[in-house]
């Protein structure tokens, strides 16, 4: 499975637009500038992806997953090192605004941040490609990357974008994984967009 340079360019730009939109949403939530890196696209097996992340200092991540179906299907995830997730929750909730159920509120807050950011990315792509997507309710988990992405067979298209909020020392990553079964549909939609 390989992408032509034009397909790769379009895919990268779609994700860039989506992440930009998501950054705008995050900025609104935390009221601070979000710094983004250019997304990196790779075609990998789940095992290769897990091996890539195993070399990082943090092997456990806080992750929100949003599964989507439609003409193309897959899984998007927003992942943070756990310390960054903690900082993000405290920035969003602020002091004196925390209800009694603190642990549930932490999970609920991260889940909703992930939901909003991932919808920003996937919704932008769906709008531009004119391919409606349906989402499953977001899931929150704390696990290694292998458990987050699952152990499916075959190759996956992986788009990763690093972002950071300098004022709060928060960093994280948007990771979008398109499953192989739907990859052809995604490329067809990209080709249709390229053809105008």
């Amino acid at each position: 499975m390989s992408l032509s340079s034009l397909q790769l360019d379009i895919m990268q730009e779609l994700i860039n637009i989506g992440v930009g939109r998501a950054a705008g949403m995050l900025n609104q939530m935390v009221n601070t500038h979000i710094q983004l890196q250019v997304p990196v696209l790779r075609v990998l097996t789940p095992a290769q992806l897990a091996a890539l992340y195993a070399t990082r200092p943090n092997s456990v991540f806080s992750a929100v997953q949003l599964s989507f179906t439609g003409e193309f299907a897959g899984l998007s995830a927003l992942i943070f090192p756990p310390a960054s997730a903690d900082k993000l929750v405290s920035v969003i909730l602020g002091n004196g605004n925390m209800p009694a159920e603190v642990a549930a509120m932490r999970t609920g807050t991260l889940q909703e941040v992930g939901n909003i950011v991932l919808n920003g990315v996937m919704g932008s792509i769906a709008n531009i490609l004119r391919e409606p997507l349906r989402y499953s309710p977001p899931d929150y988990l704390e696990a290694d990357i292998g458990s987050i992405i699952g152990q499916s067979q075959g190759m996956v298209l992986v788009a990763s974008t690093q972002f950071s909020m300098k004022d709060h020392l928060i960093d994280g990553e948007v990771l979008i994984i398109f499953s192989l079964s739907s990859f052809d549909s995604l490329l067809s939609a990209i080709d249709a967009l390229a053809a105008g």
Binding site: P99, G108, N115, I116, G120, G123, S124, Y135, P137, P138
Partner: protein
């Protein structure tokens, strides 16, 4: 006092929206999924519903479909992270009065809640 149901599987979002709605003068009831939302709608027949779409079964669109059939007078403001144009068009087609994307701009939500309050004359 006018009644409002906020239906969202996110406790965080319910907490934020309920606070704004209470400040706007509503009595607020919370639902954490589509099934609970439908049960509370039938039981309390509120004036306004703040409805998330991506909730455990049934989702918000199914709730809107049920409302269109059995209680179209309940004013619905959809509050969702879904930014797809097709989703917004479907919700408005099903009778939603307003469509707000998350993260919620609480000034905008306050304005919508005040308008809906004036509309229902409560």
């Amino acid at each position: 006092m006018p009644m409002l149901i906020v239906a969202d599987d996110s406790m965080f979002q319910r907490f934020q929206s309920a606070k704004t709605a209470k400040e706007a003068g509503y009595e607020v009831i919370e639902a954490k999924d589509g099934a609970e939302c439908l049960r509370l709608l039938r039981e309390h027949h509120p004036d306004v519903l703040l409805l998330d779409l991506n909730m455990p079964d049934p989702g918000g669109v199914a709730v809107l479909e049920a409302l269109a059939a059995e209680a179209a007078e309940i004013r619905v403001c959809v509050v969702t992270a879904d930014i797809q144009e097709t989703t917004k068009a479907r919700c408005l087609e099903l009778g939603a009065r307003a469509f707000l994307n998350k993260p919620v701009d609480h000034d905008v939500l306050r304005r919508i809640l005040a308008d809906l309050l004036a509309e229902c004359g409560c």
